[in-house]
Point group: C2
Chain length 344, copies 2
DNA sequence: TTGAAAGCGCTAACAC
DNA sequence: GTGTTAGCGCTTTCAA
């Protein structure tokens, strides 16, 4: 243990003393503000070097009423959507001199609340949130202040019901509409929908699917729209099984979430079915699997989403007056046409 | 914007005033220390409720010289090893009332240094680190204090050369030895090795492979050991191609890193080769792909690694005297025998 | 250009 | 059991 190491122990007073100036002058030289003579600045800088001094950000935070820290509250960092998101947020934050606190909710409301409370307590300067509150649940009154405090929040991917919070998301409904149209153009009329419940994201995607069917005068059969809890392991497999057991004549499978593909493929494999020979498959979110299996995919610009959310957050941090206008930003997805969908 | 919302503006003085007690008493009641009469406690609690008060962790931090925050410095959160690691660290940290700052280095030394400096500045209580410093580079003298300061550090996965830092890792050499033994027992003698350079992790795995070959009197052919920079996209594909182009009679492929499998499979597919019909395949790290393709795999207990590292870190935080003894913890991997390796 | 001093919000030693 | 006060390390106003 090197006492002088991590240098946590050195203060601006130590620097000032060694440089033979006052604390104020040392502070000015280090912090690069106010007026300092060249001579004084040099002496201070030498002392900084020698003592390995770094300002204590906690003290700065208390004094300046900011922490240069953002919080990202997400479902689960193991999910590829979330980790791409966090990657880009952290990158963008770092470029601006900010750090990122990471908070997993495991899609549990209780944890979302707990995390919000602690990050408020830690006085983060802003929050990026993917809320677990289902689209048609209202946030209880006594918790609303957590979503409407004086720390700016930008929501990502999911709308938060009844709160005026900025949102960055994909063009879910349109992209889904186009995907369904594509399947219909190939002759599919019975398209099994596999998704997870309850979030605005999935709602919007289902809406696009319905619009496409209605437009082509295809009746909507709710028995071939199946869903599961978010983050349920094996959801893909289970739902595929459920769908195929019904013997309902579906000719295509349309997966609305990124975690489902593996399970779907596994279940199909188990039943000796091949894509696209026996069934067509179209999925959201481009992952390694999708490339390997040539799956036609709707690819979300996840990192772009993270970047935009972070920039908007900085905007709200720097310009508090902008917090009054709620902004919704929709980013375009990309339709990647591979070989998993065929004419019937 | 609800002025009383996020309640960042309320201080213990506000609470004290409303409760009609002194700041000290309010503090005692809120912080649950010292002696407070039931009556006073109740008044304070009511005030806390009413004002939505939460203590300012920054002020607490300055006063208590701790932040209840850990930093995790890793290569890239998009990599599944790292995100599983972070998941478990965050979970363990949260259970103990700590938060986690996430820092991606993108495997660049410069960013590792920058992050270390800022997290020191932010006075995190401890650091979990997967250093990018290659196994045989020494950390430059003027930066050593970053690895040897008064903030405890636990290293994960990779040794840091020349520094006395605790380490939690897998039983790399042994597991690799057993894997090679297994391939040899199936009759393989020319086993192509695909890995990334420079980290102790891979070194140890190669060492295990060598030991197994030597033990079976199989000459070691360095031309069938190929590597690439870490995090190079398409490394798997490129290296497989390189290996197969040599026409060197290899009958098995052994992948030492988790990011490689997809590329390997893609390249094999492109050449019309099938596993295990045309070549056997064995890989480190169990991912969805490995299950789908029935790939025999060495699975690391990643979350366990994160948990152990975090616990050790807490230990070092609470018992500074323990920082003197360096501890290396090796966790057992699991050998998952699937169908990608066959007798020749 | 520089220095002294106040104060950010909290805890805890000390006095009552 | 309660209140007063000093001080954590910093920035910044004010005066010199």
């Amino acid at each position: 243990m090197n006492r002088n190491g991590g240098n946590s122990s050195m203060t601006i007073d130590d620097v000032a003393r060694l440089a033979g100036v006052s604390r104020a002058t040392a502070g000015r030289a280090v912090g690069n503000y106010g007026n300092v003579s060249e001579k004084a600045r040099e002496k201070v800088m030498r002392a900084v070097e020698e003592l390995n001094y770094r300002p204590n950000a906690i003290a700065q935070g208390l004094r300046n009423q900011n922490t240069k820290t953002l919080a990202v509250i997400i479902g689960n960092i193991k999910n590829s959507y979330y980790n791409s998101l966090v990657f880009s947020i952290e990158d963008e934050a770092m470029k601006n001199g900010y750090n990122v606190l990471i908070c997993n909710t495991n899609e549990q409301e209780r944890k979302e609340i707990e995390h919000l409370q602690t990050v408020y307590s830690k006085r983060v300067d802003g929050i990026i949130l993917t809320s677990v509150y289902p689209v048609d649940h209202l946030i209880p009154d006594h918790l609303r202040h957590l979503y409407d405090g004086d720390v700016p929040i930008v929501s990502v991917d999911r709308k938060i019901n009844g709160m005026d919070i900025d949102l960055v998301q994909s063009d879910n409904e349109d992209a889904s509409y186009r995907a369904a149209k594509y399947l219909i153009s190939l002759g599919h009329r019975r398209i099994g929908l596999i998704g997870t419940k309850d979030y605005s994201t999935v709602r919007e995607r289902i809406r696009g699917y319905r619009r496409a069917l209605v437009e082509s005068n295809i009746p909507i059969d709710y028995s071939i729209i199946v869903d599961a809890e978010y983050a349920q392991p094996n959801a893909g497999r289970m739902l595929t099984s459920k769908l195929l057991d019904q013997n309902n004549g579906i000719t295509a499978l349309y997966a609305l979430n990124n975690t489902l593909c593996g399970g779907i493929l596994l279940e199909l494999k188990n039943r000796g079915m091949q894509v696209p020979r026996d069934i067509s498959l179209l999925a959201w979110d481009d992952e390694e699997l999708n490339q390997l299996f040539d799956i036609t995919t709707i690819s979300q610009p996840v990192e772009e989403t993270g970047r935009m959310a972070t920039r908007r957050l900085f905007d709200l941090i720097e310009h508090p007056e902008k917090r009054k206008e709620k902004q919704i930003l929709q980013l375009k997805t990309e339709f990647i046409c591979r070989k998993s969908c065929v004419k019937i």
